[in-house]
Amino acid sequence: MKTNFKYNIIWFIIMVAGFYLMNTLILVGVINTFIENMLVTIGINIILATGLNLIIGFAGQFSLGHAGFMAIGAYATAIITQTATTPVGFYLSVFAGIVVSIIAALIVGIPTLRLRGDYLAIATMGAAEIIRIIINNMKITGGAAGIFNIPQLASWPTVYIMVCVTTIIIVNFIHSRGGRAVTSVREDEIAAEAMGINIFKWKLAAFVLGAATAAVAGSLHASFLQTISPNDFGIMESISILIIVVLGGVGSITGTFVAAIVLGVLDTVLQDFGALRMVIYAVALVLIMIFKPSGILGTWEFSIKRIFNRFKRKERVEQ
């Protein structure tokens, strides 16, 4: 009990320290709007990719429709904060986005999660496209023009906190009963079922949880950028989230963080290369995959507990 508390406190201190580090850097002027933009984009990508990693890396379900759920969150925020221009309105809209995306995830997941592998990928991609096309043709969503002049109620502290909160939720889920059930589904569906695990229920749980966090990311995206359009949430967006997950290592949340940061920085640095940027990006992507096929970190996770244990072991040896 006490040791657990210790680890939690350490994590909490790390998070607070990160927050104040950013705050100071902005006050000092090291971080300007440009870098802030990059960091916020990275943060939003982290939320999206950890959610997708839960679905792909832990539950083993190949979903290619993450952008669809992100779109739901983004539009919920854009629409609601048009009239409720207060932080309360924003949080309300985040909540509404989560609820709607959970409903959508259930509607999409209940039939399609019976499919396997690439068939599931294509079905979820189709479902996300359906969501996007419906948004593209609705009046309340502004059609193809999207919605702009969305009040900026989410600045970097909100994004930072949301990254922490969603990561905590997902990591804690992974290390709980549910997480183990979900992982067993990935490992061997038949064996899992023989152990009394309702594989369909747990697949759906992972899918819904992933969708809910995607909605949060969508809300932040809409509120920070102040502009959204259906084209932001197409197949390519789902693919770019997938790239983060695979690059970092399928089944490693730490890897997702690293990959989101690496790609975010790379993308920003490549702005200096004008039209060549996407060519370089593509080459980098292929090379990383060839030389690191299981992602940057594989399934390795950063763990304070492990560091402590190693430390202790060392002490013991020295004694």
């Binding site: 009990m1 657990n4 939690n8 905590i168 939720i169 804690n172 889920f173 290390h175 709980s176 009963r177 549910g178 183990r180 059930a181 992982t183 067993s184 490992e187 061997d188 038949i190 064996a191 899992a192 079922e193 023989a194 152990m195 009394g196 695990i197 309702n198 594989i199 399934t299």
Partner: protein, 259 residues
């Protein structure tokens, strides 16, 4: 007739092929029963039917367990497992990339009461249930001398140990009946002897019924209280080991029609 598990007229058709035809059998409390038969006799198919991995075509499976009477046919595998039927697999199906401890903890999932909110916000109740689960799993692993390998990934265990872990994992679901599908396959005589002891230990210590498929006749004859013989999908004989040894039909089925 208050058998623990009563199977009547079980049939399974694959397209036009009848894999299991009209099998009736029963298992009693705390019994060790073997299911034997030549290759392709439908033994594993029968296991799969009983544990719900594949649906039955017709017939009935009724469990009269501690919690009441349930018809198992038509229920999904995980429901059947929750009702107390657990199993191992012919070609080991461990959760290979997970630790030994996790393999066991997963089998305890359906019994654990850990709530979603409690676990994602790490409420005290989460730590409490988690601690209980780990303690229980450790106890179980200690019984089977696996406590030192708790953090090893299942795929890195030696073959015989993997078989053992699979049995432990099945036991972690707290079954009333344990189905073992060729537990001695691929083992040397020494390992087989250990396994025999292990199975007896399981039966006595946990007071459960065991049904096992096995090709190793010495093991079967040593262990089983009763034997069912399956051939071409139908039941050929039933009896004590001695009765089966003397049964002409069984000998014929094993040695082939011609001789």
């Amino acid at each position: 007739m208050t058998s623990l598990l009563q199977v009547d007229n079980l049939v399974k058709n694959f397209g036009g092929l009848t894999a299991v035809s009209n099998v009736s059998m029963h298992l009693d409390n705390n019994e060790l029963v073997a299911l034997i038969g030549p290759n392709g006799a439908g033994k594993t198919t029968l296991f799969n039917l009983l544990t719900g991995v594949i649906p039955v075509s017709s017939g009935s499976i009724v469990l009269k367990g501690d919690d009441g009477t349930f018809a198992l046919n038509g229920k999904p595998a995980y429901r059947i497992a929750k009702l107390g039927l657990s199993r191992t697999f012919q070609n080991i199906r461990l959760f290979k990339n997970l630790s030994v401890l996790d393999n066991v903890l997963i089998a305890m999932t359906s019994r654990s009461k850990e709530g979603f909110i409690a676990s994602i916000f790490r409420l005290p109740s989460y730590y409490k249930t988690e601690k209980q689960l780990v303690e229980e799993a450790t106890k179980l692993l200690t019984i089977f001398e696996l406590e030192d390998d708790m953090d090893v990934l299942a795929k890195n265990l030696p073959y015989g140990t993997q078989r053992r872990l699979e049995i432990v994992r099945a036991l972690a679901t707290k079954p009333q009946i344990l189905f073992l599908d060729e537990p001695a396959a691929g083992m040397n005589p020494e390992e087989t002897a250990n396994l025999t002891q292990l199975i007896l230990k399981v039966q006595h210590r946990f007071h459960i019924t065991v049904l096992l498929i096995e090709h190793d006749m010495s093991l079967v004859m040593n262990l089983a209280e009763r034997i069912y013989v399956l051939d071409h999908g139908s039941l050929l004989a039933e009896g004590t080991p001695d009765e089966i040894k003397a049964n002409h039909k069984v000998i014929k089925a094993y040695l082939g029609e011609g001789e």
